[in-house]
Subunit: 381 residues, 2 copies
């Protein structure tokens, strides 16, 4: 087992109606003024916006408001918000939405306490030393951004989709009311399931040190995500399945699965970020296309773990059956598994591979994933 | 799934030699003076004491020292330490040892910030509102006290072994160097394994709401504890198994397994606390005796979960085979499974049952466990 530091100080408040306490949670932290950040207005249609405002007012929290965060969130919006945060002396960022809104909030929180360009953190030119506190009310479960310090943002000038990771931007409190997530479409539920599974399998397959306990936890997460997804596709209002999905999704990327492992990489995310940077596909949809292709290519490099995966998840110890099983399950839940289904032409593969190979450099594994290798993997998609 | 709050702000530093950074970790928290608390002197023999002192001096942390904490830690020692903490204006408690030392440190931390008798917290006469920060360097893994807010202390006047639970006494930083734990005897390794398993199965069997994910996590913990225990009994110096055991033990009682469950109780702990209060047996040894007896008695109240346990842990879906399997495994690793092996006479059962029934009142489930029921369970031991 490799040495590690585990530290996750985010408080999770899971349950019905807990969004109505958000003002109180913020006030308890001694904060008097927040920036309320949200997406494309669904929270106004659902009435959630009004409830959040009412809770802030009740707790005497002042607020500025900024909407318009899109999926695959943009640096331009982050910079717009940082300016507001600095000008209006904002003390915390309250994200109401899914992973994109939370990821943006984290970048804003770091940028608001930094005198230069927030993109410096994403290209590893500077380290986050300080950040505003972040609070969240979740309307989508997948990214686990509600309980980690990760943020992925796309630079809309350079088309680079890069990330930061710092415990300083871990949310202080994240509210997860499964009822708020029940409005998510079946399509996005499927993408969410793929995303959670992707978080788990990256290190599971690529780490050079991977204790048995970590494998068991990953398998538990995958089995529970598959089980609850199938229940929810049949019965979207099943509260218990929705709640379990939400909590399990968090376990997929809150620091538990990699603790004690060594040498794991995130190749599927690396490649997918370029798909969505260049073609603006949903992250989970892009992953569903990349993962089976990557698995077929990578299998021989860790055959014992692929056999284990097949056995534990699909009750068949043939490694290929694990890959086929996962690909079939993606299809069954309605996720795409080919570039064609994403409307990405095959002659785009070179450009995607070039973009991804730049990410590989920033993430420090360009030797493992030169452009040609990435193109070769994408040919299988 | 039941509503819940999950909040565990303890930072875990796991790895070789990390105890040498303890002064730095404490200084990082802005603390200038600690009470160094330890047990019966094994840390002096091993040289750990000197390394801790050196680390504190290097970080310019002043310290007072108090040893002599025993297994089944005593309130009298806690009170002695609280007096020192108040008199010497101690700012934090540094526990170096196993669960008993850490549990004592938490009670001291709460008591040092309280004007009246610390026992008030244990008998639910007062609530913890404030506490000194706690830091730990672990020499034994089992209790998970290094990553939770629980403390069990025995009142040596009344022979009541009671507990507190507050996130305010969660350690700020816990150092786990698996090499420091490698000196634990095979006997105490076995007791530790039993203790971890006990933490997991209490809620697993007794909760009225228990999501599948929680069952999977519990089963993962139990399988990994059994696996690493067997490796360590053969090869005590196996670093990886020791590290995995230590980390898995923490997962057994850090808030993960009960999140989202409802109605779970801790009957085996309740009964065992009376065994060790009256007969001063090791906690894990007492549990190994109580658990099979309790399982035989309780089985019919949750037969489906007992069948699941048998299938997942012992590959046999007969509920009785799960109980027999666990009892046999306890014997195999050298844990006692009868009162006789603990040198507890059968005519002591009434007194133990009476003591435990008092705990049942404090813990709020005296209707489920009147004295007669507890005596009936102990007759099976």
């Amino acid at each position: 087992m490799e040495d590690f530091t585990y530290y996750n100080p985010t408080k999770i408040e899971l349950g019905r109606d807990k969004e109505n306490n958000i003002g109180e949670y913020i006030a308890d932290a001694g904060i008097k003024k927040v920036l309320l950040l949200y997406g494309m207005g669904s929270i106004q249609k659902s009435g959630l916006y009004e409830r959040i405002i009412a809770s802030l007012k009740k707790a005497k929290i002042e607020f500025e408001v900024l909407g318009g965060v899109v999926s695959n969130p943009l640096l331009s919006k982050v910079n717009e918000a940082i300016k507001i945060a600095k000008d209006k002396k904002i003390e915390a960022v309250l994200a109401v939405g899914g992973g994109s809104v939370v990821d943006s909030a984290k970048a804003i929180a770091a940028g608001a306490k930094y005198d230069s360009d927030v993109w410096d953190f994403f290209i590893h030119k500077a380290q986050i030393k300080e950040a505003l506190p972040v609070f969240t009310v979740m309307t989508l479960s997948a990214a686990a951004s509600e309980m980690n310090g990760n943020s992925v943002v796309m630079n809309d000038e350079t088309l680079q989709k890069y990330s930061i990771a710092s415990v300083l931007v871990n949310p202080v409190v994240s509210v997860i009311n499964p009822e708020l997530i029940a409005t998510v479409s079946k399509e996005y539920l499927a993408y969410s399931a793929v995303d959670v599974i992707s978080h788990c399998i990256e290190i599971y397959f690529t780490a050079s040190v991977h204790p048995n306990f970590n494998s068991r936890i990953v398998e538990s997460i995958i089995l529970s995500i598959m089980e609850t997804t199938e229940i929810l596709l049949e019965d979207p209002d099943n509260y218990d399945a929705r709640a379990e999905f939400a909590w399990v999704a968090i376990q997929g990327l809150n620091g538990l699965t990699p603790a004690g492992t060594k040498g794991g990489t995130f190749p599927n995310h690396m490649i997918e970020h370029s798909l969505s940077a260049l073609y603006n596909v949903a992250h989970g949809a892009g992953l569903a296309v990349v993962i089976p292709a990557w698995m077929k290519w990578y299998k021989g490099q860790n055959i014992s773990q692929f056999k284990r995966f097949a056995k534990e998840i699909f009750k068949d110890s043939d490694a290929d059956k694990g890959i086929e099983g996962l690909e079939s399950w993606f299809k069954k839940i309605g996720a795409p598994t080919t570039l064609e289904e994403l409307n990405i032409p095959r002659d785009a593969i070179d450009a995607i591979a070039l973009n991804a190979s730049e990410t590989a450099k920033v993430w420090g594994f360009s030797e493992l994933y030169p452009k040609e290798t990435i193109a070769h993997i994408l040919q299988k998609a």
